[in-house]
Symmetry: C2
Subunit: 259 residues, 2 copies
DNA sequence: CGACCGATTGACACAGCTCAAATGAAGTGG
DNA sequence: CCACTTCATTTGAGCTGTGTCAATCGGTCG
């Protein structure tokens, strides 16, 4: 789980639309941070508990989730390296969901005061961070679509497509392959299905030769087909044209879309 | 559909946590705006179409929605008076969903340039608007929970509870009653169910004497029970204590929660 | 070696979907 | 004021995707 400079993937996201000035990049690079290794399922933010820091993902995955009534939890979002998982801490008094590690992860805590200070001094950085929150909202919207109107196999396919693309924007999963130490139950909780059914869907995806999911790693074998199955269109990720273009076959073999 | 001063409900939301200075309120009040009456189902924002304005709801309801594959649309959010429906236009190049009126509505268009100018000149206003986007994201998260882990009747109940509280924070629906010119299919599209099933759920809610829904108006008859049925807990709305307190019985008769 | 956790499989139940038709309500135009 | 249209609500009858329950299997770790 190599990390590089801790802020590099964050910068990669912040500069998605506008290049930052050298001065601004410097400000980000100088943010004080505390790096922490998390074990699988470690809880990082607890609903209702005020905290004075934000959490930047350096390696692995985090997820936001919430328990409902008697039933199983629902995962509301994944956070990949370069994401700040609790941006709401910037302006809201207390978190409205839990945030935990999915599998082992590495995070950096940024003191909110330092962050607020930085944003106050640079309108351009403030804009970049604000945009970051808006892009997260766009992903939430797409998840609503996913849960509301797609069947189980499409949901899973859609989630995988999204993950691949988000990883690629920060330089990961270039080969349509990434290691993911999480369980089928985690997948189920993200897709709003039962763990048993999640297992059947994974098997079906394997049978269709769309993915390999051995214990600790996912490999997309047929990107085109996965995109079709998941009814995936990436505009909600607000990628730049170049990347969005890559969608048709980000790194895999080119295959005609129509049979 | 009395409107009052067009910006009054917006101010009501912006000042939810911090009181604005007189100067800031003045800035908001002086925003140039174009008031427009919308007919039912009128489309206001089209996916992918750049625009240089934001849309403030003055009366009625808007909704964000998206069409998927062959199936029915999914509504991702409601917007009530005082909400700005397309805040993403502030920092994202193009919208990733459609926005339409649910029933007749009155909106005001605010030129993005004027808005950006205002936000650039007042850090406190910028913070208030940013917080507004974060609170919308919190609502999206809750909708993900709703669609992922609750059954149909709980979804509908939850959506109704949310609407009531959001209306009350801007001074509407004080009597647990509001007029809502939208169809059962709109409700179905928000809850991720079929229109036929939505109808059955509405009938069930009527049979249980939880709501009246005559053609054009919804009246909550048993708030406590609706909250319980919808597994509704309002913390995700980030209401101030006073309001959140009112939840147990916002205006209705006080009834003990436990049987 | 035992304990534990996650993946897998099977059988059965049911919430919610689809299709289709009937009813009701609100215009619209003659 | 009455046909006629249109759109929303309502009802019924199967069908199916997915959940639940329960048992088994396989790997990992102490």
């Amino acid at each position: 789980m190599e990390i590089g400079r801790p802020y590099s993937r964050l910068l990669c996201r912040l500069e998605h639309f506008d290049i930052l000035s050298l001065h601004d990049r410097q400000r980000v690079a100088e943010l004080p941070l505390t790096v922490v290794n998390c074990v699988a399922n470690q809880q990082i933010v607890r609903i209702g508990e005020k905290s004075s820091r934000c959490t930047l993902v350096l390696g692995g995955f985090l997820c936001g989730h919430k328990q409902v009534g008697g039933s199983r939890r629902q995962i509301t979002s994944f956070f990949v390296p370069g994401d700040i998982a609790d941006l709401h801490a910037l302006h809201l008094p207390s978190p409205d969901q839990d945030i935990s590690a999915l599998g082992p992860a590495v995070v950096a805590f940024l003191p909110r005061a330092a962050l607020a200070d930085m944003l106050g001094n640079s309108p351009r950085l403030a804009k970049a961070f604000w945009r970051e929150t808006l892009m997260q909202a766009a992903v939430y919207r797409e998840w609503i679509i996913n849960l509301g109107r797609r069947d189980a196999i499409a949901r899973v396919a859609h989630v995988l497509c999204e993950l691949i693309l988000r990883l690629q924007t920060v330089g990961l999963a270039r080969d349509l392959c990434f290691s993911m130490h999480w369980t089928q139950m985690d997948l189920a909780d993200a897709c709003g299905i039962s763990n048993v059914h999640a297992n059947r869907i994974v098997q079906e995806l394997r049978r269709l030769r769309l993915i390999d999911w051995d214990s600790r790693q996912i490999r997309i074998r047929d990107w085109e087909a996965l995109v079709r199955l998941g009814d995936f269109s990436p505009n909600y990720l607000h990628l730049r044209d170049a990347e969005a273009h890559g969608i048709s076959a980000p790194q895999g073999l080119l295959e005609p879309a129509e049979p």
